[in-house]
Structures are given as structure tokens and as C-alpha cells.
Symmetry: C2
Subunit: 415 residues, 2 copies
């Protein structure tokens, strides 16, 4: 009989966001009348509300028409994305910022979640590699390591044996100290989900230097790069000297271009990047990822790749900037209201998330429940994103302006 | 330093289809003039040439417009696909044929390749499970098992240590004898890629009965179901009694609805299906897959899911039937010409592939090279799809009618 992957059984709960949805649904069932009078506003999921940029809409209609005729029909794409999209990315997202990235170091995918998850296929599993993960973090980093057998059992209070958690706190400016014990891989995410923190060029260069000295692989999640406003904040890890020898970067169009329901992102794996075999030989990861994607993936919808390409037109770039400005203004309004109510607030300036300390005596899920009951507002409990998230909630700036204004009204008097 | 997944280094060559493309490209470079006079016709890749069905085009334009406005915008989908699509599939593809499949046993994906590859995440890796794979087969089955560490080294003459190959031959009617040694998982694909063979209801029931008796898990790839013309051929493994306790089925819209560049498929994992733990407990695979997809995948583009839904309208169904009939007529024309030239031909009646014996004294790659050089026609060398594929080539019926007629003209005199 087939043996199951028992690592799944270590997972401590459902994936965080379905768990939030379940609690909201249960509350709604029980209080249907109250909810009808004062609808629930969801700021718990990082989903966008502004529609697709007009440049994408135009490109998609055109591409649909191409697919409607045998003369212009596109079947299987190149497995890792069309070269015209890879080249546009290399040019506009990297070379224009001084990062020496070639088109064939860019791999198109259906989103940063897939890349953050699948990248583990390239590495030995079962705990051979010692993984360090910033805490709190996007749950995908931890859960995929659990599934791959890189952890032990779940621990009381959250977290798993065998993972090294790097606590991001207000005290360390959300840039945790470098690990002192041996590690093989470090996950970093800047601008950070969930704390909304950004990292300066020097601090990121320090990570790269540290990783190169110790031969550590960095997974750098830059899904929120479009929200950077501070010119001192790097947009890519590849702005740092030597990063091509130690880092993989993941990017997404989900938040910048409203692609949460359209699905496209990419990762950058430099040709200079290697990992080692048991015999201590070095193996390039770029061709391994190409082989992995050719074997397990069939690229992204042609129509969607055309939409992504349109984001690099002048119109597309302007529409992405408009969206970022809209959500950052949301963050400013929310931050001011929460701060005025006396709570501590972090983030929101280079990222679409606010990281809010819970009121005295309330834990993350307690404050989540309180806001749900009293204000009909859904936030993300920080504890759901890692042990160091306890005592915080994440507030998303992605709702519509109207909903943000309602939240400001509801939450102010409550706190 | 991070340790690489050394299983990748066991892979014997590039993924088959890029290897074919490489050879065609090299020939074209060397013989540019001859190729200009007589363009190369590609029947090597299973890619379609007919455009998207009109029902899909209409649904996609409408969905693009929905995504263009905040009022009708769709962000993150349900992780395993929208319920309306899952329900349409359960009803039209299964319950209408007497298979008792519920919507929450259907999981939408970006294609059968992804599902066939990712399904291994649910099982213990590193060789704990003994895998049996029909031979020849879609290379994804074998290569993903290599990457997961379920095999030993590559063998002379193709194949890998540790996998059990079930040879499909004309002598056994492309329905191999059941394994006599212990196995945990068997991959089956009917209508078959690459041999074009179909399986009757009784023969498939015999596999299900055998699997249930021995507690074996069946992976049933039904990507070519739309091409079945014989009423005695089952469209789903779930037409067999008891299959819900032993089988997972993969389906794709790639070939039936021209989705090779659009990307959508699904798998069916019945709630009755289990695998076991080391302690011999049984674990349901349906909720494990839900957890896997929520953690590692973010569903399929909304616009694409609407296109898939449109395939279940009366117009959509008719357009799928038209496409199947078109390609099957291609197969008939090709089969008649090749047979007239004196070669043995199998398949093509319930599948869009012909399985052609090579002329005396030529092996698969030899015949591939011969047809490329002499006729400028690209086929798939059978040996590239498994050891038992030696001595055959796969001819795809997916080119346009015009190209098929050209191939018939070119190949007849050559053989």
C-alpha cells in the first residue's frame, strides 16, 4: 500500500487564511442581522481591490483574439516563459537599476507563492539543510519546509523543531541579528510581509556579505517591491554586490498590478549561483530550475504573459504607480487613525501592510476576535504568521478607500 | 552551504521535447536553404493547432472586462478552483456518466502535467514507495519520480533502477500484465500517450479489482478522454466499481479545447481514497491535497476558469467535439498513408496519436533522423518515452489538415 507523506500530519492547523475565513464565516452565520446592518470589512487577506491596469486589459483582449484564430494561435509556451517577457523583466526590473541580470536568469511562474514553495525541490530534503526563517513570515515558507521534511514536530506556542526562527521586532528594527549557529538557507522578505518594514541598502548588503562569507543561500522575497517609496531602499537583492553568488529573488505581479486572480510572477536564479553535493561538488542552480520547470510545469497562459508584458509599457508603469500610491494613502489613513487611538503602528511607508501592537492584555487572536465582534473588521492575527507575531495584528491597506474610511470611523472610538 | 537535490543529477538527458527541439534547430541551421524550400512540419510535440473554441473566446472577453472594473473584479480565487467550475466538471464529466463524484473531489490546476508531477508530494519519497509505470509513457511520470528520489541510477538503454516498467506492446494489446512483484503505485494512461491505445471497460475494471485486492494506488491519466469514439471505452476510471477507493484521475483541457497555451486541467481525488502511515494508519488523500494546494498553489487565472466553464455549455461541447473529429480525421489520413507504405500502425481511433513501427534496421532515433532529413517531418522517437518505446515513433495528429496532407505526400514515397 502506498505510504503517505507523513510530514503533512505535522502541520499544526489549516493554512492561515482559510482559518481566518472559517472564523469570519462562523461569526457571520451567528450574527446575520448585525452583519447585514454593518457589513464585515476584510483586511485580513492581502488581496487587492483595484482592478487590472488598463494596459493589461487591452493586451489581454488582443491576446484572446489571437488565440481565437489558427493563424495567430499560441500553443505550448516556452516552459519557463516567453523570451520577450523574460527580456522585458531583465531590462526594466533589473538592468535599469544597475543589476546585471540576463533574460535566461528570469523564470516566469504563476506567482511568488508557487516559486517560494517549489524552490525547495532544488535542495536536498528531509532535514539535510538547516533552514532559517524570519519570524513572523508568510506561512508558505514554514509550511513548505514542514511538507518537505525539513522540520521536526510542531512546538507549543507555534513554530516547529528544527527550523531556526529569526525574530523581527521593533527593537531590532525588523532586521534580525544574523544567526550565530550554522545555517544553510535564510528566507528574507523585504519590504516585509507582515510587518511592513523595509530594509536599507547597507543592511541588505550586510546580509549578502554575511551569506557569502558563510556560503549560505538567501531566498529573497520581493513581492512588495512596487510599494517602495524611500530612495534608500533597494528594490532587488541584486543591487547588492555579490548577491548573484548567494541569492534567489522571487517577484509577483499580484499586489503591484492586481494579478491576485490573474496569476503571474517570476523568480531570478543567477547563473553564478551554486549549491553543493554530498561530495562537495558545486552544482549550478539555474539549469536545475530549468529542468525542474520543464518537467513539472508548462508555463503561464499566453494571455497572462501578454498582460504582464504590458506592465512595462509607459502606460503600464504609470498604472502600477497609481495603484501603489492609492494603497499607500490607505496605509497612511489607517496608520494615523490607529496611532491616534494609542496603539503602536509599524510599516505602511514602503509596504501595503501595517503591523499593529495589540492593546494591553490581548493576544493576537483575542484582538482579531475583538475587532471582528465589535467593529466587523477582519485583520490578520500576527501569531498566525509565527511565534514572534504574537502581540501584533497585520492590517492590510488593500481594501477600497471607502472601506478604509469606514474602518477608520469604526476603529477609532473602539480602541 | 545548501545541499542540492542530487536526484536531479541522475536524470539521463534533458526533458524529451526540448531535446527534439534542439535537434530540429541544429538541422535547420545546417540546411537553411533546403528547409526554406520545404518547411519542416512538426508532429513531434503533442501541441494543437486549432484555435480556442468560440465559447471560450467569448467567455474570456467577458471575464477580462470583469477584471477591468473594481465592481466586478475577482482577486484570489478559491485555492483549488471556483466551486462553479468544480461543480460543472463533477456534473458533466462524471455524474452524467454514472460516476458518483462530488464537486469537492475535483481540484482545478494549471494542467495535467502539474498534477501528474505534484501528486507525488502526497506520498513518502526517497524510495519508500515502489512505483510501476507503463512503458512507454509520458516522460513526466518517470522524471518526477527520479527527482523525488524514488529511483536509483539511470540504466544503459534507458530507464532507471528501482522503477518497475510495465511494457505495453502490440502483443499484449497495450494492456500490460499486472505486476507480480509488490508495488505501491501504478501509473496508467488511457487513451494512451504515446501508443494511442484505448482500454475497454472490462480490462480497466480488472486493473481496479487488482489494485483493490492488493491495496495499490492507481494514477489514471485521462488527458485524451475527449478523443474516445468507441462506446465500449470508459471515459473515466470512476466508471469502474470501487475505483474511488484506489484511484486518482488527471484530466486536461489542453488537447480537447486547445488549452496548451491557456493552461487548465484538474484532478479527481475521491474522499474514499487513503494511503497509509508507517504505523499502518490510513490517511485520506483528499484533504491532504487541499492542504497541499492551499500551501503551494494559488489557483488558476479567473479568466481561464471562466473559459473552462464555457466548455460545458452546449456550444462549448459541440466545439470540443468538432476539434476531436478534426484531429481524428487527421489520424485516419496519416494512418492510411503509413499503413499503405508498409509500416505497422497502432492507435489513432480513440486517441490523437499513431504508434508506428520503424522500418527494418532503424531504431527510434534513427527513424526520427531519417524523417527529419529526408521528409522534413518531425516525429517523437519512441525510445525517448521509455525502453519499450524502442522500435517505434509517435506521430501526432494535431497539425493542421494542410500539414497532414503534405506529410502524407512526403512520407508515402519515402517509406
Amino acid at each position: 500500500m502506498a505510504r503517505v507523506n507523513e510530514n503533512f500530519l505535522k502541520l499544526q492547523s489549516g493554512f492561515l487564511f482559510p482559518e481566518i475565513a472559517r472564523r469570519v464565516e462562523a461569526y457571520t452565520q451567528e450574527h446575520a442581522g448585525a452583519v447585514a446592518d454593518k457589513p464585515i470589512i476584510k483586511m485580513g487577506l492581502g488581496d487587492v481591490t483595484q482592478p487590472l491596469p488598463a494596459a493589461c486589459v487591452e493586451a489581454m483582449h488582443k491576446a484572446v483574439d489571437e488565440q481565437a484564430s489558427a493563424d495567430s494561435f499560441h500553443g505550448y509556451a516556452q516552459h519557463v516563459g516567453y523570451d520577450w517577457l523574460r527580456e522585458a523583466i531583465a531590462e526594466h526590473d533589473f538592468r535599469s537599476r544597475g543589476c546585471d541580470i540576463a533574460f535566461d536568469e528570469v523564470f516566469i511562474s504563476d506567482g511568488a507563492k508557487s516559486d517560494c514553495a517549489n524552490i525547495l525541490d532544488l535542495l536536498a530534503s528531509g532535514g539535510v539543510n538547516r533552514m532559517a526563517i524570519t519570524d513572523p513570515a508568510y506561512p508558505v515558507y514554514v509550511d513548505t519546509n514542514v511538507i518537505a521534511g525539513n522540520t521536526g514536530a510542531g512546538l507549543e506556542g507555534g513554530g516547529y523543531e528544527g527550523l531556526l526562527y529569526l525574530a523581527m521586532t521593533p527593537d531590532n528594527g525588523f532586521d534580525p541579528p544574523k544567526p550565530t549557529e550554522p545555517v544553510d538557507v535564510v528566507y528574507l522578505c523585504y519590504p516585509n510581509n507582515p510587518t511592513g518594514a523595509a530594509i536599507g541598502k547597507e543592511a541588505l548588503q550586510a546580509w549578502v556579505d554575511w551569506a557569502r562569507e558563510r556560503d549560505v543561500l538567501l531566498f529573497f522575497d520581493a513581492a512588495y517591491e512596487a510599494f517602495i517609496t524611500d530612495p534608500a531602499v533597494p528594490h532587488s537583492v541584486f543591487e547588492c554586490d555579490g548577491a548573484a553568488e548567494c541569492a534567489i529573488e522571487m517577484r509577483s505581479y499580484s499586489k503591484s498590478a492586481a494579478f491576485t486572480g490573474t496569476r503571474c510572477g517570476y523568480c531570478v536564479i543567477p547563473k553564478a549561483l551554486t549549491a553543493k553535493t554530498a561530495a562537495d561538488d558545486r552544482v549550478q542552480l539555474n539549469p536545475l530550475w530549468l529542468r525542474r520547470q520543464r518537467t513539472k510545469f508548462n508555463s503561464v497562459c499566453y494571455i497572462v504573459q501578454r498582460a504582464a508584458e504590458a506592465l512595462y509599457s509607459d502606460a503600464g508603469k504609470a498604472q502600477v504607480r497609481e495603484r501603489a500610491a492609492y494603497y499607500l494613502e490607505n496605509a497612511r489613513l489607517l496608520g494615523a487613525a490607529i496611532r491616534a487611538a494609542g496603539l503602536s503602528v509599524h510599516g505602511g511607508e514602503n509596504a501595503p501592510y501595517l503591523w499593529v501592537g495589540t492593546p494591553d492584555g490581548m493576544d493576537s487572536w483575542g484582538f482579531f476576535d475583538h475587532l471582528l465582534r465589535e467593529a466587523h473588521v477582519v485583520v490578520t492575527p500576527g501569531a498566525g504568521m509565527g511565534p514572534a507575531g504574537e502581540g501584533f495584528v497585520r492590517v492590510s491597506a488593500f481594501p477600497s478607500r471607502e472601506d478604509v474610511e469606514r474602518v477608520v470611523e469604526r476603529v477609532g472610538p473602539l480602541l
